[in-house]
Subunit: 298 residues, 2 copies
């Protein structure tokens, strides 16, 4: 553990399997400008989609411990797959151990905001097939209000089209092919007259205007970042952990487990702010439960 | 004049000296998805900054006539310089002639929205030195409410940094240098405690999240596009010119007076949607008042 300092001066840590979570960090930087942030992209092990739950729990605990040792005052899991697989275990472990750091994940904040926003009780969900299949959003929405209908549309090629646009150049993101994909995925939600749509993948905010045009301007779009920002603020407030500076900007920095330059090149487009320092961090291939036997087992 | 058809089925025309007005078109595409649009970028004569008022009036009338002949049902001037220099003359001419097309410009809609949004009566303005010096926003704000303070900050290098980021690649827009410029330009507005800030240049919405972070999340940002979209909708409604389709998307296409490929390459970043058809259109160097002597002189 690092030497004690005022916990309010510590950074908020945000982590994800890659660069997608940078859209969440983007919202946090806009909504909580006074806070310091550190972001970790586990790009060496990206993507998480085909990993087992046990493996993802191991990754999550390993990353969380790394960030807690870097004096994070709060952990934000900006990854749908890891949230679905590992959030409860992660929360339990981080609060049980001497690290004592709280963990907030995606999914539940979006579900809450969507239920609060809908007027006709029809909520749409756009997400990867794995996220839709996990049922995480359906469970979260039902837990908030069992009378709301969730229309879930799995979007197999939307995140890949956003992350790796044909041709590769950032300027070529907005292609007719992408537009056709967005049109096809939004059509069932328009048909179902959903008045609120959850973007259940951190990549999708990059095409938000296109989505808004296809869905119609009266449809409320709920992103992970905006929903999380509110919950992060509540968490900091209730624990007296909000940054002490009341004006001016905090700092932000980056860690990644894979290639630093690739992260920087891809990440700027997702963050929409300069990616300055990016530090490489090595996380072993083994799971945290093996590396840290001292941690209490559930 | 083209053969008569239902005027509601005609496109809305949007024009600008270059690609900046595409951020206005972007907002119109999101807010009015059922409408058809045609955009004209006068890139061959870009920039307009150093042109005389008489010259700009000539350009405006020439472009307006071209677009009216392409059956536009409404003209939107998405250019601060041309709005300041030529809007009244343009409106008078287009309504006096047989073309009978209404013209809407920037500046006034933003002033109206900013005055409606401010709670402390302190409105900030970020704009090019020429726009600030023209006093157009100060006049427009004072015309709506003479008790509001306008703090105007001229931003000499902000539009150039956005249009031509160092290195040129679209992904390199969000540089530390740009961030430093944004920080410097927003500082006087933070100092003045402006609670509402007008982005008085069509380029600035591309760095809106950065501006919001620097200004603070409680500051209302007013963009030309969002403010104009409302007024365009009112204009269509009051003249019974709204598109007849109630669902689905309209079309949009592009004209430019300069190099088509350069327009397309730069434009996608500003539109954030695919730039499909771009047609070259030749507009002569002479002013419309000479080309069309039949038009009544004011």
């Amino acid at each position: 553990m690092p030497a004690a300092s005022d916990p309010r001066d510590r950074p908020i840590a945000v982590f994800d399997s890659g660069v997608g979570g940078l859209t969440v960090l983007h919202e946090l930087l806009v909504h909580l400008p006074q806070e310091d942030f550190v972001y970790l992209g586990d790009t060496a092990r990206f993507p998480y989609g085909q990993r087992s739950t046990a493996e993802l729990e191991g990754f999550a605990l390993q990353i969380a411990e790394e960030l807690a040792h870097r004096r994070a005052k709060l952990l934000v899991v900006a990854c749908n797959t890891m949230t679905a697989a590992a959030l409860p275990a992660l929360q339990r472990r981080m609060l049980e151990t001497t690290l004592g750091v709280d963990v907030i994940g995606v999914v539940r904040p979006e579900a809450l905001h969507a239920v609060a926003a809908t007027r006709n009780g029809r909520i749409g969900l756009l997400a990867t097939p794995a996220t839709v299949a996990s049922g995480a959003y359906a469970d979260a929405v039902a837990a908030v209000d069992s009378h709301v209908d969730l229309v879930a549309v799995p979007c197999p090629d939307l995140a890949p089209l956003i992350q790796d646009p044909p041709g590769g150049a950032a300027g070529e993101l907005f292609t007719p092919r992408l537009q056709d994909a967005v049109r096809a995925y939004t059509a069932p939600l328009v048909e179902a007259r959903a008045d609120t749509v959850i973007l259940g993948c951190t990549h999708y905010p990059l095409v938000r205007p296109m989505l808004q045009r296809m869905l119609g301007r009266d449809v409320t779009i709920v992103t992970s970042g905006a929903a999380l920002a509110r919950q992060v603020e509540h968490a900091l407030g209730s624990r007296d952990l909000a940054a002490r500076r009341s004006t001016g900007e905090g700092t932000y920095s980056f860690l990644c487990t894979g290639d630093v330059e690739a992260f920087r090149a891809l990440g700027t487009r997702f963050l929409q702010m300069p990616l300055t320092e990016v530090e490489h961090v090595a996380l072993g291939p083994t799971t945290t439960t093996e590396v840290h036997p001292a941690w209490p087992r559930p």
